[in-house]
């Protein structure tokens, strides 16, 4: 379980995120949704200790992340940000291999190879594993990054806008794979995303943010109501029953 208690962060004079308090239960998929600038990504990166918390505490499995050694935490929690530009040319397998760094410190063992292969297979990248990242399509590359954090073998996988720059087909594919990550591998997946319908279709829990605060936390069924959605996104909503659950209509 990841717990945030009165977490806040201030940028410059005007922008403040928080104080934010909520919990992410172990298991399942949690989606962080909200309009641009709501602070979703900031909260996620603070959970992943890539940004420091100004005040408040974040605990992962009961351990305060500021007090925990980063190396230990890397075996419990993995985070992937949306933009990844590397100066080095890497093949998919080499990239995924870096996910084993917390365990092997750069010397890949036989056991590491097993995890690497599993992660690659899980994301259907087996055929591409010796291709260079710059030879892949956007969707494949995104999957390779996700494979890296899966190879890290952590309880928690945090992803910042993994659907950015993906077309519909690849977005659906990615969400299905993340869903399977939670169901088959038993990981806890936390995703920052824009699309409320995607979130409702694939997440178990939705944390809605607005103006740096958490406005609502609930199951898709609880969030997918016109009044709730309107409160989050400040635009009129209608919710209709789709074939696979409620659909928000906002145009």
């Amino acid at each position: 379980m990841i717990t945030l208690e009165n977490v806040s962060k201030t940028y410059g004079a005007e922008t403040t995120i928080g104080p934010v308090s909520f919990e992410i239960p172990a298991g399942g998929v949690t989606a962080l949704v909200g309009p641009n600038g709501a602070g979703k990504s900031t909260v996620l990166t603070m959970m992943g200790r890539l940004q420091e918390v100004d005040s408040g505490t974040i605990t992962v499995n009961g351990r305060d992340i500021t007090g925990t050694s980063s190396r230990e935490l890397a075996k419990t929690l993995a985070i992937l940000r949306q933009e990844n530009h590397f100066i080095t040319r890497l093949t998919v397998r080499q990239l995924v291999g870096f996910g084993r760094y917390p365990y092997s410190r750069g010397r890949i063992t036989v056991e590491d190879e097993k995890y690497i292969s599993e992660a690659i297979d899980f994301l259907n990248l087996t055929a591409y594993e010796n291709r260079y990242l710059d030879q892949l399509s956007g969707g494949q590359r995104q999957r390779a990054y996700v494979a890296m954090v899966l190879a890290q073998d952590t309880d928690y996988v945090l992803l910042d806008e993994p659907l950015n720059n993906l077309d519909m087909q690849h977005s659906v594919q990615m969400m299905k794979q993340l869903r399977r990550t939670a169901d088959v591998l038993g990981r806890t997946v936390v995703i920052v995303m824009h699309d409320i319908n995607f979130a409702a279709a694939y997440a178990d829990q939705i944390v809605a943010m607005n103006d740096g605060r958490v406005s609502t936390v609930g199951t898709p069924a609880e969030i997918m109501r016109p009044d709730v959605l309107q409160g989050i996104f400040h635009t009129p909503f209608e919710v209709v029953d789709g074939p696979a659950g409620p659909l928000a209509v906002y145009y």
């Binding site: 940028y11 410059g12 922008t15 600038g37």
Partner: protein, 362 residues
């Protein structure tokens, strides 16, 4: 991306604190997450007098710099015998060229910044100065003992080619960040400089290169400064067509859309910059960072109103070059330090200050 803060049309933004913002604050750089929204201008229109008196004060300061420049030096032009002749052969040319070079180089920087919509671009950060130096050197090698005019044409042509090369480079290089542009430009300049050094080494002309590299007003004596008047044409032209550069800076599509001949405007701008840089390089030498520091300082204090900033850019250019040149004359009198050395230190200092401040303010 920088278009957000180009030109708010109303004059005198200094009155409204919300508008006296840091000009660098949004000079695009990939990782700013928050979009800057221009403040809604709420202010009283200024009277004519309110707009005029700062200009008068600025003019007075400029006059003071000019007068100081005329009377500072080893030779006592007031009391000594032959002072008047000395005054005419050295002080007047020196001061006139200083005024012209200072304002023209500052304007050249402004033009380049408008056209690229990048606040860090100017002749030294695009390699234009080095190209002019290379042109000067090649002319000297091909036509030994060439008259000033020929050397100047060589320098101008190379400056033009170099600036065009840089613009092609910009088109070729997908630059996410406005900060990369000057890095690339400075490196381009360094390579051209290395080529000059190599050529000079092969032809025993290192001294000439050194002279060009160390810009100085010392040698501006007699009629040598006359070509500097050419820069006056550019100065006037900038006053007339400055707005077009702004539009061209928004990109080819937008410029064409509002009925501007994009290619013509860009070419005019590049030619003007090349002319100023070429003439200045041959007569004086390089004046590093001047074109960058002046427009930025002006818009930092006065906001981004292009029209009303133009005279200030000229005047501040004169102030900085004037003060640096006076310093250059005084520090180790009776000898002189090249003004480019002092400008290099001052300019780099201000440049770094602008960069750092931009972060703090943001």
């Amino acid at each position: 991306m920088t278009s957000a803060h180009t030109s708010t049309q109303a004059p005198g933004p200094a009155a409204d604190p919300a508008l006296r913002r840091d000009p660098m604050a949004r000079a695009a750089d990939g990782d700013d997450r928050f979009c800057w929204v221009p403040p809604v201008p709420v202010r009283r229109p200024k009277t004519r007098w309110q707009r005029t008196w700062p200009l008068l004060v600025g003019g007075l300061i400029t006059l003071a710099v000019v007068v100081t420049s005329l009377f500072v030096g080893v030779y006592d032009v007031v009391n000594a015998e032959g002072g008047w002749a000395m005054f005419q052969t050295t002080r007047v040319p020196r001061t006139v060229s200083l005024v012209l070079a200072g304002s023209a180089m500052a304007m050249a920087g402004l033009v380049m910044q408008l056209m690229t919509q990048n606040r860090f671009v100017e002749p030294t950060t695009t390699g234009t100065t080095e190209w002019a130096g290379l042109g000067l050197l090649i002319t000297l090698i091909l036509f030994p003992g060439a008259p000033l005019m020929v050397r100047m044409v060589g320098a101008i042509v190379f400056a033009l080619v170099g600036t065009l090369v840089f613009f092609l480079f910009l088109r070729r290089v997908t630059l996410k960040s406005s900060l990369i542009v000057p890095i690339v430009g400075i490196m381009l300049g360094a390579v051209v400089g290395a080529a000059s050094t190599f050529l000079a080494l092969e032809t025993d002309m290192l001294q000439q290169v050194g002279q060009w590299f160390n810009g100085s007003f010392t040698s501006v004596v007699g009629s040598r400064y006359l070509p500097m008047w050419a820069t006056l044409v550019v100065l006037v032209a900038v006053f007339v067509i400055a707005d077009r550069f702004t539009v061209a800076g928004l990109g080819k599509d937008i410029a064409t859309n509002v009925g501007l001949n994009y290619t013509a405007v860009v070419f005019t701008g590049v030619t003007m910059v090349a002319l100023v840089t070429g003439v200045t390089t041959v007569v004086i030498g390089s004046l590093p960072f001047l074109g960058l520091v002046v427009p930025n300082l002006v818009s930092m204090v006065r906001g981004d109103d292009l029209r009303s900033n133009l005279p200030w850019v000229c005047m501040v250019g004169v102030w900085i070059v004037g003060v640096c040149d006076i310093l250059a004359r005084v520090v180790i009198a009776p000898f002189e330090v090249p003004v480019s050395v002092i400008l290099g230190i001052v300019g780099a200092g201000v440049f770094v200050f602008l960069l750092v401040r931009r972060r703090r303010g943001a």
